[in-house]
């Protein structure tokens, strides 16, 4: 039996507290910032006592930022919708292509299976930017490149992770597929969806910009982060969260919260599948 002394229990509790603080505090603090005005955010020292306001969220959701310079238009919600379409679409395509293939590798031993599986896995080794940049050069001025890359991301990366949990026969009875296969696939699915959702973040697809290229996952991340991040960095930009009064940090924080909230909600809802998906999918041989 495993006996733990009082001192050990205290130490364990203290360590856990530190861990929880480290991992939870940033989310908590950004959420707090999102309910503050610029004035309260910029005061020193920072304080947790303030008059909460919903104006940041209101500005983002209505797309209207009232300032001394007039009313500015913010396209945040349409960008968020783009992200949702992008992430759901890529997950659907990935599932349609990836699940049957994963099933085949798991269920059958066939000639060349290891090679095919490794070939698919090897797509994960290639730097995303290599495909993205080349695709952009191949299809200049079009969106084909980024779609191609997005499809690539969806298909190849998850095949090794989509490990068979059950032994149902997907194509020998639709009930087996619906009742057994899909529920067992849920861990992988829910693991995939939030990440894709997170990947897209508040990504917009307004085109243009200094670099002019917003490809693939990293770039999509960037649209969410950097579009806002440029504001945080104070180097100007086009995200529209800056007015004559300066950078709207509260709105940036609110945008972050709105971008990550659906993912976090989904993750919390599906956490037990998530844990299974991560552990079984990635580890079982």
């Amino acid at each position: 039996m495993d006996h733990e002394s009082t001192l050990e229990r205290w130490l364990r509790g203290a360590a856990l507290t530190v861990v929880v603080l480290f991992f939870m505090f940033p989310i908590f603090w950004i959420a707090l910032m999102s309910f503050q005005t610029n004035e309260t955010i910029l005061r020193s020292p920072p304080s947790m006592v303030f008059q909460p306001t919903l104006s940041n969220y209101q500005a983002l959701i209505t797309g209207q930022l009232d300032s001394q310079a007039g009313t500015l238009q913010i396209e945040f919600m349409s960008n968020l919708a783009n992200s949702a379409i992008l992430s759901v679409g890529s997950v659907v395509v990935a599932l349609l292509l990836g699940v049957p293939a994963a099933y085949a590798f798991a269920r059958y031993k066939f000639r060349g299976s290891e090679d095919i599986a490794f070939t698919l896995l090897s797509f994960r080794f290639a730097p995303p930017l290599a495909r993205a940049a080349a695709a952009d050069a191949l299809f200049p001025g079009s969106r084909a490149g980024r779609h191609l890359c997005r499809a690539d991301l969806g298909v190849s990366a998850d095949l090794p992770a989509a490990d068979p949990v059950d032994r149902a026969r997907l194509f020998r009875g639709h009930l087996a597929g619906r009742r057994i296969r899909l529920p067992h696939r849920r861990p992988w699915l829910v693991r995939r969806l939030p990440q894709d959702r997170a990947a897209a973040g508040g990504a917009g697809d307004r085109g243009g910009g200094a670099a002019g290229v917003h490809l693939r996952l990293e770039q999509l991340h960037l649209r969410a982060g950097a579009g806002l991040g440029r504001q945080a960095a104070g180097d100007g930009g086009r995200a529209g969260l800056r007015d004559r009064e300066g950078i709207q940090y509260g709105q940036i924080a609110a945008a972050v919260v709105l971008s990550i909230a659906p993912t976090l909600a989904l993750a919390l809802y599906a956490q037990r599948y998530l844990v299974e998906g991560l552990s079984l999918g990635a580890v079982k041989g």
Binding site: D2, R12, L16, V19, V20, F23, P26, I27, W29, I30, M33, P45, L96, L97, P100, Y103, F105, Y108, F110, S113, F118, L120, S122, F123, F125, A126, P127, L129, A130, R131, A133, A134, A135, A137, L138, G145, L148, C149, A151, S156, F171, P194, A198, A199, G201, G212, G225, A226, A232, Y249, I252, I260, T263, A267, L268, Q271, V275, L278, S279, V283
Partner: protein, 308 residues
Amino acid sequence: MTATADPAAPPRRRFRVGPRALPYLLSLPALLVCIGILVPFFTAVFYSLQRYRLSQPWARGMNWGENYLNFMSDPSFWNTLQVSLTYTVLTVGLELLLGLGIALLLQKPTRINNFVSVMLLLPLMTAPALAALMWKLMTNPNFGIFSYLVSQLGVTDFNWASDPSTALFTVVLVDIWVYTPFIMILLLAGLRSLPKQPFEAAALDGVPRMAAFFRITLPMLTPYILTASLFRLLESIQQFDIIYAMTQGGPGDTLTVFQVEAYLNFFQSTNVGRSAALLMILWAITFFISNLFIKNWLRLRERARGGA
């Protein structure tokens, strides 16, 4: 009217997929799409063998391996290599240690531990670029809470990501914040699935807990550690979003890891050839590391099956 079978009629042929063909058919769509995606990849290989600047289209032409050869005498390439490897080793190493430590803390499946393990997954669900942005706000020298806390500890000129001496520390910190839960959850699943008998036997024999940890727990956890390391290595050496969102590779060239350097080469310097060559080298490194890990992982799996 009754239908009777005509013995002379040829049997109706129904299209049936044989058991041998089925796995190929199932994996074919994914394979086809992936092969289709090889086009941009091989295009990148092709570009890497070219003198190709978007700003000088008239000078475009094959230079074969010159881009690669130039790297040998290019200090910025060696800097990129060094920064990438340092970043990878630091992040993966620290995340493994922390992830293992936290997994050990949460090993017992109590209600609190289960709750905490779920909460700790939240950073993992945050897009890395957004995580970088969050940290950027919190480390802002004017109003950032972390800047304030550090100043309260007596460190007044700690500039986080904007100082070359602390930039790497800052991005590693963000990476740890985002990805440690991934390793934690994998190792936690591993720890909880370990058989109890060896530990009970060790306890009966009076084996000290530290010895049991190093002699029983760690060896049995190795496949999980390898898997977690592989996934993290792949992502870490190809890191882009955290670094770019935090510092855009700066200050100076402090954090120009492979993908950031390639991105800047492609989209700022418009040097497509050099950018593609950099990415090919990154691909080679990643492929080598992955091969090494997968071989070890397969060897461990075979050993486990043999021993089972």
